[in-house]
């Protein structure tokens, strides 16, 4: 399994043509206390860079974008009851959705962990 990152602070962990998407620890730290998360419906088609999910902190709503194009196979239902999972375990239990990749070539444009860490350090 390989994990990639976007400049919009999403992570995507890829296992064959299946992937899990969430937001990074840096992102949850910037957002602060998460009070609501809306995940995409199973079967919906997401386009790379398009709106995929919504995460709301006390002060604002933010969009989560799709790191790659694909079809949603599962949303994280646990976030409905406990949106604070995004704060406490953003890169684990606080994942947002799973999807099947349409074009694994899109992954080439994403950052690996080292590159993402350097990117965050530059902010």
């Amino acid at each position: 399994m390989t994990r990639y990152y976007t400049e919009d602070h999403e992570w995507i962990e890829v296992d064959g043509d299946l992937a899990t998407v969430g937001i990074t620890d840096y992102a949850q730290g910037q957002l602060g206390d998460i009070v609501f998360a809306e995940v995409p419906a199973v079967g919906s088609t997401l386009n790379k860079g398009g709106d995929a999910a919504v995460v709301e902190s006390v002060k604002a709503a933010s969009d989560v974008y799709a790191p790659v194009t694909g079809t949603v196979t599962q949303g994280n239902d646990a976030l409905e009851a406990d949106p604070a999972l995004v704060n406490s375990d953003p890169e684990g239990e606080g994942w947002f959705f799973k999807l099947t990749l349409s074009d694994s070539g899109e992954l080439d444009s994403l950052m690996n962990e080292t590159a993402y860490k350097a990117f965050v350090a530059s902010l």
């Binding site: 919009d8 602070h9 999403e10 937001i23 992102a27 910037q30 957002l31 602060g32 206390d33 009070v35 609501f36 809306e38 919504v54 995460v55 709301e56 902190s57 006390v58 002060k59 604002a60 709503a61 933010s62 969009d63 989560v64 974008y65 409905e80 949106p83």
Partner: protein
């Protein structure tokens, strides 16, 4: 991932306030607000919100404008542009009031205190320069307007604010809600009022800018006190049902629409003689077309500023503030609806990202005010 609030671009570079470095040293995340670098949060909005409701939170509100109006007949002159009975204000008493445009629209909401030197005004930071020029235009030349930008302004809010502040500034516990007086901290003059913007008991303290960092340290050395950012200030005031200028109030809205008729004193209703009196007295007599109300929200999804409000297929209003209420553990909102729909309990719908969310008109405040009012029976030792 992109926050809605990252889109706003300031017109001018943000300025530094006296406590800027103090906030950074205390771990604040800074944002630009009202033209200044301000702390949005320290440890987190939820924790800071709860701390203020249970203990005492220290807020830096130095972005607000502190003005001193002095000269002959200042109260009478100010009454031409605000609807309060300012002439009747005794020294050491304060009143919430509204700066009114010619057409009755609200230019700002403000606090007016009768101080020994004159009338002390605290106005909103985002519009203070417009307020000052409006006051200069409208007040007679004999009245001096001193913009006290050499003073910082702190608010200490919460049920334990009095315990903490009286240790640092003995005697402040003698003040009641909406009263103010001068005090000394060492050799430094403080102007302290028992007032605030959270719905809790608390104080607002005007401090010479060069001493505010030391004073803030003295307050934070008290076990009840932690610094609190603008994020919790907003969630606290929303729970208290208090409007925020530029969001819930603006120059298109008159005081009756804003449900702030209490700010129009009895004598002024009878005599008129303030800007916009025609529209405002008309609305008092005949009703306003729409009204500011509070909302409870079904479910967990916050309904925020700008969300349209529907009765069936017809849009009958818009939300002007909204978010998650930590004390209530649910979303709440504030907005304007056509007066027909303003009754408490009216079931309506708001639209968020194309989806309808059930909302219900609710009484405000959402969280009861706990002011230390004069003449109130205090039941010592009784659990709240």
């Amino acid at each position: 991932m992109m926050s809605d609030d990252e889109i706003e671009q300031p017109e001018l570079p943000a300025e530094e306030l006296p406590l800027g470095d103090w906030h950074r040293a205390h771990g604040a995340r800074m944002v630009e607000f009202a033209g200044y670098h301000m702390p949005i949060q320290y440890e987190g909005i939820m924790a800071e919100h709860a701390w203020t409701r249970e203990n005492a939170g220290l807020f830096d509100v130095s972005h607000m404008g502190q003005l001193m109006l002095s000269g002959e007949h200042t109260a009478e002159a100010l009454e031409a542009i605000v609807p309060g009975d300012i002439s009747a204000l005794k020294e050491g008493r304060m009143r919430y009031s509204l700066l009114l445009a010619e057409d009755g629209g609200i230019l700002d909401d403000l606090m007016i205190t009768a101080a020994p030197m004159g009338l002390y005004l605290v106005v909103n930071g985002a519009v203070k320069w417009d307020d000052i020029s409006y006051l200069r235009d409208r007040l007679p030349d004999e009245i001096t307007i001193n913009h006290m930008d050499d003073r910082a302004l702190l608010a200490l809010q919460g049920p334990k604010a009095v315990d903490a502040l009286r240790r640092v500034v003995p005697g402040v516990d003698a003040l009641y809600f909406m009263e103010a007086s001068s005090y000394l901290w060492g050799h430094e003059p403080l102007w302290i009022s028992r007032s605030g913007y959270t719905g809790e008991d608390g104080f607002e303290i005007s401090v010479p800018a060069e001493h505010v960092a030391a004073f803030a340290d003295a307050l934070c050395a008290q076990p009840e006190v932690k610094p609190i950012g603008l994020g919790a200030r907003d969630s606290l005031r929303l729970e208290a049902g208090l409007p925020l200028y530029g969001h819930d109030l603006d120059d298109r809205i008159d005081p009756v629409q804003a449900d702030l008729s209490f700010a129009i004193s009895k004598r002024r209703r009878e005599e008129g003689g303030f800007t916009g009196a025609g529209r405002i007295l008309g609305a008092l007599a005949g009703g306003a077309p729409n009204k500011r109300v509070g909302f409870t929200v079904e479910g967990r999804m916050p309904v925020r500023e700008g969300a349209p409000i529907f009765a069936g297929d017809t849009q009958i209003g818009v939300m002007t503030s909204g978010g998650f209420a930590p004390t209530i553990d649910a979303p709440i909102a504030m907005g304007y609806v056509e007066t027909t729909y303003a009754m408490h309990g009216t079931a309506l719908e708001a639209e968020v990202r194309g989806k309808r969310v059930p909302v219900k008109v609710a009484a405000m405040p959402f969280v009861p005010h706990r002011y230390h009012r004069r003449g109130q029976v205090i039941q010592k030792g009784t659990p709240a």
